[in-house]
Amino acid sequence: MVEVELLGPKTWLMLAPTVGLAADVVAHLTVTWLVPLKKLYPRLLVGGVCGGATTLGVTLAALDSAALGNIEAVAFVLFNLATFAALSFGYFNFVQLNVSALRVRLLNELYDVPEGIDAARLTAEYSAIEIVDQRLRRLVRGRQIEERGGRYYRRISLVYGIALAMDAVKWAVLNRRIRDNFRRRVSS
């Protein structure tokens, strides 16, 4: 029979990333409701930092009473932080899906009109032109691209870095690139 020690060091070693995620959610919600921080990303960042610190703290406390060698202890710290990062990234996506996803915006538009929206009117009212204008304004305001004399230029920025990284992963997994969207449109 397998013996299981409840609430021993091994339990806490295993639970540390989940406890960290709980701390992440609680800190994010606390900051959201109690601190006048308007922007979403700093609120999520506070949650992520609290969650990471909690994961690290619980892991170190558990390792303190577990008889492990140095290499194994370091491996557990890195492993638990990686597990927490994956959990926190999932939570980040879950929250920000409500803000940035076009699909969610379309669902919201349709929710407000139970009888439905004429297909032509829907694409006209929430058109690509509006989305592009909104994105351009947001990217310039966030210093992710540059505007000079009515033209837009590349900046070395976080969003550009994410675009390059996503492009590389997309190429590796799907054998396609973001720029293929434009090539197809130009050639058609």
Binding site: V95, L107, T123, V173, N175, I178
Partner: protein, 169 residues
């Protein structure tokens, strides 16, 4: 340590299977197929660690080892599902930044950006996807939410209030 190696090896092996599969033939419903593949790999990998010669030294020694491996595998699976979903449907912001970067020092005007990122690229694929997912339906030329889509959107509204978010898009 053996549990950590098992967790890393299992996720890496599953990723390789996924990569080969996607390279040979792209599944129609990518996210669902991806989740099924990665979640099915977890019990298979754990059983393999107990019974496949050569892997038995990495077999979990107690329940906590099993949970440690499962926690890592599920966390990484869900995170990768988010990334993969973003790979399938390029975000408008990433498309705008990429299209602007492709112009080099010449830059792009708003008209050029708007001209290439049109409804066929931005709106219609999303409507088709929501339709295929049973969230919306096109009835007599009008898009409307299905009962499932209405329930889902109502839940999103609750979350939006909880997280104090503005409407998406």
């Amino acid at each position: 340590m053996h549990a950590i190696i098992l967790a890393l090896g299992l996720f890496a092996a599953t990723f390789v299977v996924h990569w080969l599969w996607w390279r040979v033939r792209l599944p129609e419903r990518q996210t669902i197929t991806l989740l099924k593949l990665f979640l099915a790999a977890l019990p298979i990998g754990l059983l393999a660690a107990y019974f496949v010669p050569g892997l038995t030294r990495f077999a979990p020694r107690d329940l906590w080892d099993v949970l440690l491996v499962a926690q890592f595998h599920i966390a990484c699976t869900l995170s990768y599902a988010c990334i993969n979903s973003a790979l399938q449907h390029d975000s408008p912001s990433l498309m705008v930044v990429t299209f602007v970067a492709m112009a080099g020092p010449a830059g792009r005007s708003a008209e050029e950006v708007g001209g290439i990122l049109d409804d066929d690229l931005m709106i219609r694929p999303r409507l088709a996807e929501l339709s295929a997912g049973g969230m919306i339906e096109l009835v007599e030329g009008r898009y409307r939410l299905t009962p499932r889509g209405r329930k889902f959107t109502a839940r999103l509204a609750l979350l939006r209030r909880l997280f104090r978010l503005e409407k998406g898009g």
